[in-house]
């Protein structure tokens, strides 16, 4: 879905009506009354965020929740020497920023478009109004935050227990299509982002990918060929239980 907006400016390409319809279809707001959705839409806006554009920086006032309509947004922190730790990469129809909106009012991380993206910006006041008057919206948000929380704990678990090779292999094995036999799956983002997401330096990722070759894994651009999914799983999986699935 593309919107003809000046970027990275905000606009309402088809009026509040269409924004309300879009919001109403999102899992977070599904089931809310038309009046409640309309109130959120009246204060919200669609923003085009070109690739590599910073949506917000760490420490900036958390004035809005963001819902991804198209493209990908990476949420990350940086050390002062520029090293990047990617917390998560958000794709449609996920949303991010609730924890900051309801926190100390500042974003704890940076957010940048990994590829050209379209997001709905739901201002803090609109979000708080919806949450404090619509228990359904609040409970959906609780569910979404709970899933994020479990996924982050699973990431920590992987960082504690898995080697970089195992983390990369686990990530590949969790990609859509990596079910059985000989398959080719596609990385959802570039290798630099993958390294940041898995807590590995970019140069280490190249070494890890080279070490995966004897295990039947070949990576060309975004395409990953796996000779035998079951064999790879046996070779790298230490038996990490149900929580591992939540990390990827």
């Amino acid at each position: 879905m593309r919107w003809p907006c000046p970027s990275p400016g905000a606009c309402r390409p088809e009026g509040e009506q269409s924004l309300a319809a879009l919001l109403g279809r999102l899992p977070l707001f599904r089931g809310l009354s038309a009046e409640a959705i309309g109130a959120i839409a009246a204060l919200s806006a669609i923003i085009e965020v070109p690739r590599h554009t910073l949506l917000f920086g760490e420490g900036a006032p958390a004035t809005a929740l963001h819902v991804v309509l198209s493209g990908q947004i990476k949420v990350f922190s940086l050390t002062s020497d520029g090293r990047e730790s990617i917390v998560e990469v958000f794709s449609p129809p996920s949303f991010f920023g609730v924890a900051a909106v309801l926190g100390d009012g500042r974003f704890p991380v940076h957010a940048e478009a990994l590829y050209d993206a379209t997001v709905i910006r739901v201002p803090r006041e609109a979000m708080l109004d919806a949450l404090s008057s619509q228990p359904l919206a609040a409970l959906r948000t609780v569910g979404a935050l709970a899933r994020c929380r479990i996924a982050l704990a699973a990431q920590i678990h992987q960082l504690e227990t898995l080697s970089p090779l195992q983390r990369v292999a686990e990530f590949i094995l969790a990609l859509p299509g990596a079910d059985a036999g000989t398959v080719t799956v596609r990385l959802p983002f570039n290798k630099e982002t993958l390294a940041g997401r898995l807590g590995i330096r970019r140069e280490s990722l190249s070494r890890v990918l080279a070490r995966l070759k004897p295990l039947g894994v070949a990576v060309k651009g975004y395409d990953v060929s796996i000779l035998d999914v079951a064999a790879l799983r046996r070779a790298v999986r230490p038996g990490c239980g149900r929580v591992c699935a939540a990390a990827t």
Partner: protein
């Protein structure tokens, strides 16, 4: 009582949660090493932590448990499972005796479905925990084991102290090592290297001679 979540700091969110949620449960004492919930089991009760210290473990298929989370005052054990697939994602065990309020999971859900203010409080409570998790995951990715250990010791100490301070390790060293993502042997080596930074550990007691100096080490880039 109206709770203005928008105006609340993290500590005030926790205080509000304690105030609002405690009356919904029954108080019960928890002994050290008591298992509160087990991964994979249905969420029937959630536990509001009033005191004590708890560790969330992710169980491996081999039966080994890996600590992934530290849970303290004001947290609601079982909340993530209650509002996702209804199963506990982690096993949670007490590493220090304490007290919790046990709240029926169905009752909490039912109340939150009707009471927007309570639901909003749960959002705020989870937001606090989520931000802590984001920080912990970032630490694991960007900091060395030495920096992580220094940062953990500093979190145990009262804030803003410039002089020597003594802290008690809240869990056995083996468990703490796993919590910080290293083996017990590596943890011992790290503690030895931290002696030069003024950290001495005897049993469960750690002394930090120079908290600001240790803080500088914990946040320094590529210290190793």
């Amino acid at each position: 009582m109206h709770v203005d979540v928008e105006a609340l700091s993290d500590s005030a969110v926790v205080a509000a949660a304690l105030r609002q949620l405690r009356p919904l449960g029954r108080a019960r004492a928890v002994g050290r090493d008591e298992v509160m919930v087990r991964a994979g089991e249905p969420v029937t009760e959630v536990f509001l932590v009033q005191s004590g210290r708890f560790i969330g473990f992710a169980p491996l298929d081999s039966g080994v448990e890996v600590p992934v989370d530290e849970v303290m005052h004001g947290c609601l054990l079982g909340l993530p499972g209650l509002f996702t697939d209804g199963l506990h994602p982690f096993t949670v065990r007490a590493v220090a005796a304490g007290e919790v309020a046990a709240i029926d999971g169905g009752l909490l859900r039912e109340r939150a479905e009707k009471d927007a203010e309570l639901a909003l409080l749960l959002v705020a409570l989870l937001s606090v925990r989520l931000r802590e998790c984001i920080g912990a995951a970032g630490e694991m990715k960007l900091r060395t084991v030495r920096q992580r250990t220094a940062a953990y010791l500093l979190r145990l100490a009262p804030r803003g102290r410039s002089g020597p301070v003594e802290v008690r390790l809240p869990m056995p060293k083996k468990l703490l090592a796993a919590h910080l993502g290293m083996t017990q042997q590596s943890f011992s080596r790290v503690l030895r290297t931290l002696r030069a930074a003024g950290v001495t550990v005897r049993g469960r007691l750690a002394t930090i001679a120079d908290p600001p100096g240790l803080s500088a080490l914990a946040t320094a880039e590529d210290a190793e």
